[in-house]
């Protein structure tokens, strides 16, 4: 029946389009800008949006305290949230591709724990006192903590990668958990011999917060995150080749060893920096890459990296907004908000799509 009508198909065929879908990206960007402004207006004191714009453009606000609130607290916090969200989601994305595993993320493979250990070691040897772990550390101290956190994260990641050559991915995840326990145990040993104030400081650090970062520390955090993201962007093409697995990637002419080294470096810098300044932030690194793949239905890193930057920033700002409990004096622990509100959303998304396989099918 079907062969009666013959249509010249080759001329009329529409081929799938590769590349960024600009409408979707602009929508995401608009949401990000809206959330950014919203996070400046909301808090214990509500500042009208018009006043925020006046303050940001260098004008005179109705109340002098509002400018102080925006510049000293809300702006650095919002910028930190954007940076942290972007950094964690891109590091998670890179790890999921490199390990070809949908469960990979900075937290699951023990990389956050490595960073925590680095931070705890530095803080103990430098001997910081204060309410937050990083308060009192100057610019130099900020660098020290970043280097420690990055080294800790990089070391664990390197170990995980070396092991990944000999064991399957399931074993690797379990080993990652074991690394987490060991570093966690070392941290608690270190803290056991510390003063109660430091223990308090460490525990509130583990709650996660975008609030403790000063303008001075942002001068370190911005270039570090920018460098990590740039590195990821430069290797987007190589990450795409790695989607096929190491053997295929090599058959495509890719230098797999060098690519993996760069991905480790980028991931360690991104996850390490954020962990140093904001504490071990959960959820974003694992979940946001999946949300990006589902929303944009692609595995192309040239699309996923910019989208993960935007989506990660959106999720981080949103979680921080909720943690502030606008209109009240309460500030909830960020990680608790992430887990309580973020996880059901992700579960709902996954169940609606029946399985994660439709967005990521890992070994």
């Amino acid at each position: 029946m079907s062969d009666i009508i013959v249509t010249p198909q080759t001329q009329t065929r529409t081929w799938p389009q590769l590349g960024l879908r600009w409408t979707a990206v602009s929508t995401l960007l608009l949401i990000l800008i809206a959330l950014f402004l919203l996070s400046l207006t909301l808090g214990s004191v509500r500042i009208p949006l018009r006043q925020i714009l006046v303050i940001l453009l260098g004008g005179e606000a109705d109340k002098a305290t509002w400018a102080t609130i925006v510049y000293a607290f809300r702006l650095p916090k919002a910028i930190t949230a954007v940076l942290a969200g972007a950094a964690l989601s891109v590091s998670g994305l890179q790890m999921q591709t490199m390990f070809r595993n949908p469960l990979a993320g900075p937290f699951i493979l023990g990389i956050n724990s490595g960073a925590s250990l680095g931070v705890a070691l530095v803080v103990l040897t430098v001997g910081v006192t204060g309410t937050t772990l990083l308060a009192g550390l100057g610019l130099l101290g900020g660098f020290g903590v970043i280097i420690a956190a990055t080294l800790g994260a990089g070391l664990v990641l390197l170990l995980v990668l070396l092991l990944s050559r000999y064991v399957d991915t399931m074993t690797l995840l379990i080993l990652g958990l074991m690394f987490g326990y060991i570093t966690g145990a070392l941290v608690s040993l270190l803290l056991y011999f510390s003063s109660p104030e430091r223990i308090q400081a460490y525990i509130s650090w583990t709650f996660g917060s975008f609030g403790g970062v000063t303008w001075g520390q942002l001068q370190v955090m911005i270039p570090a995150v920018a460098a990590g993201l740039a590195l990821a962007w430069l290797f987007a093409k190589s990450l795409n080749a790695l989607l096929l697995g190491e053997t295929y990637a090599r058959s495509l002419g890719l230098n797999v060893q060098r690519t993996q080294a760069v991905i480790i470096l980028s991931t360690a810098v991104l996850a390490g920096t954020v962990t140093a300044f904001c504490g071990p932030i959960i959820f974003i690194g694992v979940a946001v890459p999946h949300l990006c793949r589902m929303a944009f239905r692609t595995a192309d890193h040239r699309i996923l990296i910019p989208v993960a930057v935007l989506m990660g920033a959106v999720v981080a700002l949103l979680a921080d907004l909720i943690a502030q409990v606008p209109g009240s004096q309460i500030v909830l622990p960020l990680n608790a908000v992430m887990a309580l509100l973020g996880v059901p959303v992700v579960i709902w998304v996954i169940l609606r799509r029946r399985s994660l396989r439709s967005s990521f099918a890992g070994g």
Binding site: Q9, T10, R13, W15, P16, L18, R100, P102, L234, A236, K237, N240, A241, L243, L244, G245, T247, Y248, R250, S251, L252, G253, L254, N255, R293, M294, R297, T298, A299, D300, R302, R357, S358, S359, F360, A361, G362, G363
Partner: protein, 360 residues
Amino acid sequence: MMTTVDASGLPFTDNRLPASAPILQTHDLTIGYRHGRKQPRIVAEALNVTLHQGELVCLLGPNGAGKSTLLRTMAGLQPLLHGRITLHGDDLTHLTPAQIARRLSIVLTERIDAGAMTAYGLVALGRHPYTNWTGQLSEQDEGVVRWALTAVGAADLAGRQINTLSDGERQKVMIARALAQEPTLILLDEPTAYLDLPRRVEIMRILRQLARQEGRAILLSTHDLDLALRTADQLWLMAADGSLQTGAPEDLVLSGAFGRTFPSDGVAFDLQTGSFRLLEQPIGRIDLAGNGAGAFWTMRALERAGFAVQPGANGAPVQVEVLNGDGRYRWQLTREGQNQTCLSLQELLRILGKKEKAGK
């Protein structure tokens, strides 16, 4: 679905070599594995083979003979232990991975699980050796991707997510991906494994078409003896000891190379049918009269039941004649002077079976 390959007018850069030029040659090649300082484990040695342009070569051999090792070594994915491999006359070890990627591509047995990726996106990854650092595809690159998908008859699958593809569809897309590298040589490791028979035939047809019409050299390992005998221009038989015999399929059949390559108890290579069959002591001899499909399948049925069947009258105690009228078959069984007509092979076998039991 018939797809005709029409390369004319498509933006495909022609890097084919002059007719029947050798694309890949091995010179006294030893393959195997090196483990630190220990003695290297040699899989095969003294291999001297040549792959020519436009040639479809099937690599056959028992499991563990080293077929995959040979393919991986030829692709430069695994270091060779001794000897040389030349690709377009250049020593493989002197070429960069990117240079090799433009000359040969490989289809592996491992399954791609990249998720959220369309068949089109997967094939586009084959352009990796040609794109700049951003990986941006040019008009020409996209033209090659479309041509590759069309050439394997997978143009309709372009927009599908790869994890929704069947095994056969997926294999076609993987071949298109290898083709998008515009190689002069494609190596495939068991491309027909896990596929049903029509899909296997289709894949082999596509590969032969690529060799004949596009002038590429294609080397594939397979366990599909029958299909290899019918489609390959050359066979490479790799025995368990790593020795390699090459030649036209029919020459290798007649020289008895198959039996030597696949030595196995209870199984023999049948020169008449070009396939392996179970070796059993026949339970009786039967003369078979008849011709065409009816005779062929009657012979198969009788042999399955354990009889030694000879065509024509040879004076065996039992004779079977295949009768064909009105498109229906009848079988006339003659033994000890008595005639009996059967309406199906099943009935024939049942009667013969009773006779055998009664005879014992």
